[in-house]
Amino acid sequence: MNLDQLVHECGEWLKAGGPMSDVVISSRVRLARNLAGHNFLSKASPDERAEIERTLFDAIRSREFGKSTFYVDVEQSDPIDRQFLVERHLISRQHAEGEGCRGVAISSGETMALMINEEDHLRIQVLRRGLNLDDAWNQTAEVDAALEAAVEFAWHRQYGYLTACPTNVGTGLRVSVMLHLPALKLTNEIEKVLRAARDMRLAIRGLYGEGTEALGDFFQVSNQVTLGAGEEEILNGFKSEVIPAMVNYEREARRQLRTQSPTALDDKVWRALGVLENARAIGSEEALFLLSHLRMGILMERVKTVDLAAVSELLLGTQSAHLQKRLGRRLEGPERSVLRADYIRKRLDQGRPGDN
């Protein structure tokens, strides 16, 4: 397996479907770990960084789960490949833009990615489509335990698992879900809901995590506190209280749009489809914004001529690195916009339900 083969596939977790997938795009569980007996990365020499990478790489390869992973040397990768991995949520922006030896081990089906030498020595990430944190957690727990049998992680009697930044210390556990909230945005209730989420000690971020803007009504919600609560407690609070509440707000807003302003709703949705089907040049942000409206229209059964799978594929495929990798060459801005519009028109044309 290599990156060039991934271009023609849609990551398992990015496919349409899964629990509450009308609102929840995907679920992610992440654990931060560091090797005992080594400095954290801010004080690690290039030699020590290399040793950490080798130790973790060998540990992963020695385990059963590691045999079906493939490793990408991020330091040696082309910038487009790095961006490609960010777009697929397999590595963070920080990892793509970092320095020194670092990499990522990716499982087949892309449901798991282990980043080596990001902010911590190791970040175990497991992804699932829809709201499925149990499954994501259970796989994470297994991988964590398997690695603990091979290497020793930095541990402290009081603080638990030690991390480079005190905001991750303790469990090292960050749980996040990607939500699609177009109706709350249209009904101007989004700020209220996001503020309530912040009051519940949650962080709200954009499509690509830390430091990114919310684009096309996609929001990433995650816990902030990693210390003083057990893993199960963190996960349960999140998936049984917080997320279902936000999902219900969005569903309620959609119901409200359908009953109170169906014409305004249809106008938004059909305009989105109209532009996507006809544009001859389009930027990635505009595409994302319109695809968001189209996704809502399909889920609310206003548009029945386009398949949800086509929209999921386009959400990923219209992004810059994906476009460039598919065409196999570097594209400058204006040309990219033209080829993006071509790709969207072609994909929507094949995307009629029943075609595949």
Partner: protein, 161 residues
Amino acid sequence: MICQQCKKHPATVHLTDLVKGEKRERHLCEHCAATEGISVKQHVSINEVLNSFLMTQAGVQELVKIRCPDCGMSFVEFRNQGLLGCPKDYDVFGEPLAAVVQRAQEGATHHTGKRPGQMVKLDPRQQRRLELQRELRAAVEREDYERAADLRDRLAELDKA
């Protein structure tokens, strides 16, 4: 700008309300905003936590001297970049770091989760039961009895399996 409500404290919360399509701007102090139920809690960055911590410390001079003998990281350097240098810093930086951790972690001071060698797994059946029970409560609340009956059957099935 002074708070429009109490006319005493500086206004730090700026609101735009839409009432019947008309825009109305209001400027309140944090206290008056809070009594109206408006929260202004923001995601605090680690640097803010560190800075506010240092400002309130009497022994700033003492802090400047703290340095880890293993990795060479000083407390001041940590303060500037937000990242620690090695596991030992958690002990070397002692109380000042404990205060930083406590602020960043909403008051928590001790790990209560899994220990090395342990494995915490979730039982999907237990989870499914909780979800169905929650949906059932919601269905009864909105008087959707058809849905409630269906959920009740599914719960019974889950218990049998």
